[in-house]
């Protein structure tokens, strides 16, 4: 539960550079970048993220020449092996438009690995993974990490349409739901979760995706009394815990209600992005 955690820095994170080894437009306006950085690749855990300056550089020394877009952007780790890791993003606004111009051979300036990652050890036998939109990539890493621990996992994937289905070849057990019915179940990924929970209750549900999806998943799990961790998003100016910008509201609880609502907001760049769904104030 929500014991206020001490603010000692996470271990292993660093300010570093990574070379773009490969770039692939995996779906319209969706890019996967393979990045070379052994420090991150060897220590990162499923559910963690990197914080990336949105301007690629020609070499490691290059410190950039633009203050616009100014701030770093957070991207989950799709997967990591030996000295490389991957991220996958959708071109959304100015940050990702700029990042999409990174070319193979160029460098990205990044901080990582950041955040807490999913509590994989809470799943001893089985887990259900739920991912929507660009919340799918971290589930690839999660599925592999679980399988290496001998934990069976089932992936439930939500997308707007067949064209937006990401990473489907990366999952061994996969069900798909699309908003427009052009692929798999016509409807929400939450529907798939309800059916799955009807069959069997897993040790854990791990979820990442748009807020309404996460809220639905949290409610479904709460109703079945299944443990659920959700990976949350909020604007993250620093990513390293110093600005108090990236907070999400926590459920009122005795721990946090010292003083005048003190502790009601939690910084998810350090005490997240993965959070116990029961701790979140979903209202």
């Amino acid at each position: 539960m929500t014991t206020p955690q001490a603010d000692a820095p996470a271990t292993g994170r660093r300010h570093t550079h990574a070379r773009v080894l490969a770039k692939c437009e995996v779906a319209p306006r969706h890019f996967a970048l393979t990045l070379s950085n052994s420090g991150i690749a060897r220590t990162v855990r499923a559910g963690q993220f990197v914080h990336v300056l949105p301007h690629s550089r020609e070499n490691e020394e290059d410190t950039g020449w633009s203050f616009d877009p100014l701030l770093r952007r957070a991207f989950s780790i799709l997967d990591a092996r030996e000295d490389e890791f991957e991220i996958l993003f959708r071109v959304e606004g100015r940050g990702t438009r700029s990042l999409a111009r990174a070319e193979v051979g160029e460098w990205l300036d990044l901080l990582g690995p950041l955040g807490n990652g999913f509590s994989l050890s809470q799943a001893s036998r089985s887990a259900i993974l739920v991912g929507g939109g660009v919340g799918v990539p971290p589930m690839v890493f999660t599925a592999r990490a679980l399988s290496e621990r001998g934990v069976e996992s089932q992936m439930l994937l939500g997308a707007r349409s067949a064209a937006d289905v990401l990473c489907e070849d990366k999952f061994t057990s996969l069900q798909i739901a699309t908003d427009d019915g052009s692929r798999g179940h016509h409807g929400r990924v939450g529907d798939l979760l309800e059916s799955a929970l009807q069959e069997q209750l897993p040790d854990m549900v791990f979820a990442c995706g748009p807020y309404p999806m996460l809220r639905a998943v949290a409610h479904i799990c709460a109703a079945k009394n299944v443990m659920c961790e959700v990976s949350l998003e909020e604007n993250m100016p620093c990513g390293i815990g110093v600005c108090n910008g990236c907070v999400v509201p926590m459920r009122p609880s005795e721990d946090i209600l010292e003083g005048d609502d003190y502790g009601r907001f939690r910084r998810i760049c350090v005490h997240g992005p993965a959070c116990d769904a029961r701790d979140i104030d979903w209202t």
């Binding site: 603010d7 203050f67 100014l70 701030l71 100016p237 815990g241 110093v242 999400v248 502790g263």
Partner: protein
């Protein structure tokens, strides 16, 4: 003195710093959050997040958004409160290897003064910075927009503590010189110029404000020319040292503030972009001094040519 190792030491009232580059309040937490990424002992000083008497939850999210070459924030002074600050945060800060400036905010002159007094017994605090200029809480700007209130709050604090008192001003005024003189009159040892500029942003899709608080404080490179103007104007109107703040991201930016009349600077938003921004600024100032064969950074302060 060896011309190749320029003297970076500066003095702010009674306080001597090893170099003129500080971290800005609210952008460096309580130091401990980034001790793995930044060698704290190399900083001129740490200015920690504003401390209030009682803990504050702060504003609801979203609290920040990006703007062209800048960002807005409406954190709302989320902080652990005085008691937890003393108990949980001070011990680490005391041992950080550099000086500590504690930034405080109160609701009234009495509250400000009581906070100063409450900290008098704590060791390892080298100065206090009075945040009379937070735009993101109710009445946060009442003090810094009124010379009479500014003078009163500084006087009250002056009576409550022997520590160096830095007063953080707001740029959201018609003439900052008026407020600067009032703070000097009240007994400030130095002025921190300046806090954020009040701004607004709307999500045109939802037609709602981007920040839950409505308005926010603009910071980052976008405001640099405006903050520099504020520093220059203050420098020409007071005799006490000035700490320049606002959009400083590179050594060159910091040099502009020193030349305009600041004795030291604070690095804020740039730390979000590069955690070691402040250390990079220190290094760059040293290189500039060497290149220009200037023995001490103190010679730069106010060295603007007509």
């Amino acid at each position: 003195m060896n011309p190749h190792t320029p003297d970076l030491r500066v003095r702010l009232g009674a306080l001597e710093l090893q170099n003129p580059v500080l971290t800005a309040s609210g952008t460096f937490g309580y130091g401990e959050e980034v001790a793995d990424l930044v060698d704290l002992s190399k900083l001129g000083a740490i200015v920690c997040k504003t401390v209030t008497r009682l803990p504050r939850a702060g504003n609801a999210p979203p609290r920040t958004c990006e703007t062209p070459a800048g960002m807005m924030n409406a954190i709302g002074l989320q902080n652990v409160g005085l008691a937890a600050f003393k108990r949980d945060k001070l011990p680490f800060l005391r041992d950080s290897g550099t000086k500590l400036i504690v930034n405080i905010a109160g609701d009234s002159s009495e509250d400000f003064a009581a906070l100063c007094a409450d900290l008098n017994d704590e060791e390892g605090i080298d100065a206090l910075e009075l945040n009379i200029s937070c735009p993101n809480v109710a009445h946060g700007l009442d003090f810094a927009t009124d010379p009479i209130q500014t003078e009163a709050v500084v006087k009250a604090c002056r009576a409550a503590t022997p520590r160096p008192l830095f007063v953080k001003l707001s740029p959201n005024v018609t003439d900052i010189a008026v407020i600067a003189r009032a703070a000097q009159e009240g007994g400030a040892d130095a002025l921190s110029v300046c806090n954020t500029f009040v701004g607004f942003a709307i999500d045109t899709r939802t037609r709602r404000p981007r920040l839950s608080n409505g308005t926010g404080g603009l910071s980052g490179p976008a405001i640099r020319p405006l903050a520099l103007r504020a520093v220059w104007r203050c420098a020409q109107n007071v005799q006490i040292p000035i700490i320049g703040i606002g959009g400083i991201a590179t050594a060159n930016d910091a040099l502009e503030f020193l030349i305009a009349g600041a004795s030291a600077v604070q690095v804020g938003t740039a730390t979000f972009v590069r955690p070691n921004a402040a250390l990079e600024v220190i290094e760059g100032i040293g290189e500039y001094l060497s290149q220009h064969e200037i023995a001490s950074v103190r010679e730069l302060t106010g060295s603007l040519q007509a």
